[in-house]
Symmetry: C2
Subunit: 295 residues, 2 copies
């Protein structure tokens, strides 16, 4: 990707985590060199490498520590070997954070002074981008916006709470709620509700109220200029998510609601790619600042 | 107050808003000059003036716009005439925001890299201090942390939502809930619950769950190093608020909970004084930085 966001070349290949970490590093290095050759660019034209990786990852140390989908890669430092091999700065981010940066710089967040993104899929991820940077909390960790409280009661979530957003409005939660009425997936719940099936409609009504409650909380805490909604469920049913988000903001009397807009994510699964690349370039070349406070 | 937070002199006098804005300005100027004389300081020793005022106020324009308690002062600029008369920078903040800055610099927030404060009184106020500065959202406005969602249902709040923290756990809310059982105030509800009255205990149990839910949301959004609890209700019943706050954090599995501490506010109603003064000095003399990013 260029500094202005144009994707010159890309390659998609499976991670093959089970083949080991060192082999993955070699395959990444080979792919980067192939891309440069295919684009007819000398190696010196490579400015930086950005990595958006399924978390948990540690952007400060460069370590991946995901026992779920990258089994055997625990505490593997992906930044050091790539910097050594490629001779440029390498930047590691959680994939959801990278996607939020991508939407902020090149997608639905463009032009907003601040943005909160919620991604509705199997789970619910989220990130806040303030002053051109990912919001980080204590110990440099990212918030877990998908787990804000939306109800006093509800299903227990692995996060430690009942009634969080993810436990009510994620794909997994909708499938679990629908299973009681014989539906096999979240998609089946949406389809049944569309044809008037009352139990499916009730399941969706609960999810809709949870989205309303979560957006309410996000505009009363981060108070961002833009809310971006993304993920597979939002791509399939944008209106279902947009409507309660906008309704929540329209009701709020204590915040400057007219300055807050809601938008659907534009970049799909390219958002993480664009965000990680852009962030790596900004860190490598501080003069390419988007906002005045990007490091 | 000195740069290090020592209060040399202070005066307390009623606002007498009904006497008009210009008269209030003259009384403030007179009080400042009296303070300097009483402390044996030449006028040149005055570095800045900080104002913590009941909101809504606009810290950027210097305007007060509070039709409730400062009737007739609508859109009155308090910064300009004081700067003209006193010849030093004057800084206006919302009183709750000023109190949060005071606790951050001189009270329960000292030493923390970031802080969220919740103030439980008639209503519930809140502020976040990040990197030594008050968190501001879109249009430069402050968040309304007292109105985060804590339940799907509940009493309707003037904020536009049912089930927000303030509508369940504020002094006003406790008094309203207690009234149904014959209690005359929030204090009476606390007293009855302490002597085992079951309805009073149930009212408090609902409020306790609301505090738990709100703290949960704040640590999953702002993810601060410290939560500070203040206000009249917390002064009277610190354990009632501390316990659910700590319990919420102890249950959380997705955030670095061991880095988050909860503390009771230390400065009482002096917090706003200290915070407004400190903030005004920091803005007037940028070399007196507490953190690297204070302007």
């Amino acid at each position: 990707m260029t500094h202005t966001g144009d994707v010159i070349q890309y390659r998609v290949f499976p991670t093959e985590a089970e083949q080991g970490f060192n082999r993955a590093i070699r395959r990444i290095v080979t792919a980067v060199r192939e891309i440069l050759r295919a684009a007819d660019l000398p190696p010196g034209e490579l400015a930086a490498v950005g990595i958006g990786c399924a978390g948990p990852v540690n952007p400060r140390t460069g370590e991946i520590n995901n026992p779920y989908t990258l089994s055997g890669w625990n505490h593997c430092n992906i930044v050091e070997p790539l910097e050594r091999e490629l001779g440029v700065p390498v930047c590691l981010e959680n994939d959801a954070d990278a996607a939020a940066l991508g939407e902020f710089y090149f997608g639905a967040g463009q032009g907003a002074e601040s943005m909160v993104m919620l991604t509705f899929g199997t789970g619910i991820g989220g990130a806040a981008v303030l002053r051109g940077q990912l919001y980080r909390g204590v110990a440099g960790e990212h918030p877990e916006i998908g787990h804000v409280t939306v109800a006093a009661e509800g299903a227990a979530c692995y996060c430690g709470r009942t009634g969080c957003l993810e436990s009510i409005a994620s794909g997994t939660a909708l499938a679990a709620a629908g299973k009681k009425f014989g539906f096999g997936s979240a998609a089946e719940v949406f389809a049944a509700a569309a044809s008037g099936q009352p139990e499916a409609a009730r399941v969706l009504q609960t999810a809709r109220a949870a989205v309303d409650a979560a957006i309410w909380t996000l505009v009363h805490t981060f108070l961002p200029a833009r809310i971006v909604l993304g993920g597979g469920m939002v791509e399939a049913h944008p209106g279902f998510f947009l409507e309660p988000a906008r309704a929540a903001i329209a009701r709020a009397t204590q915040i400057p609601r007219d300055y807050i807009t809601v938008a659907i994510a534009q970049l799909g699964n390219r958002a993480g790619l664009a965000g990680a690349a852009r962030w790596a370039m900004l860190r490598a070349q501080p003069e390419q600042k988007h906002h005045s406070e990007v490091p």
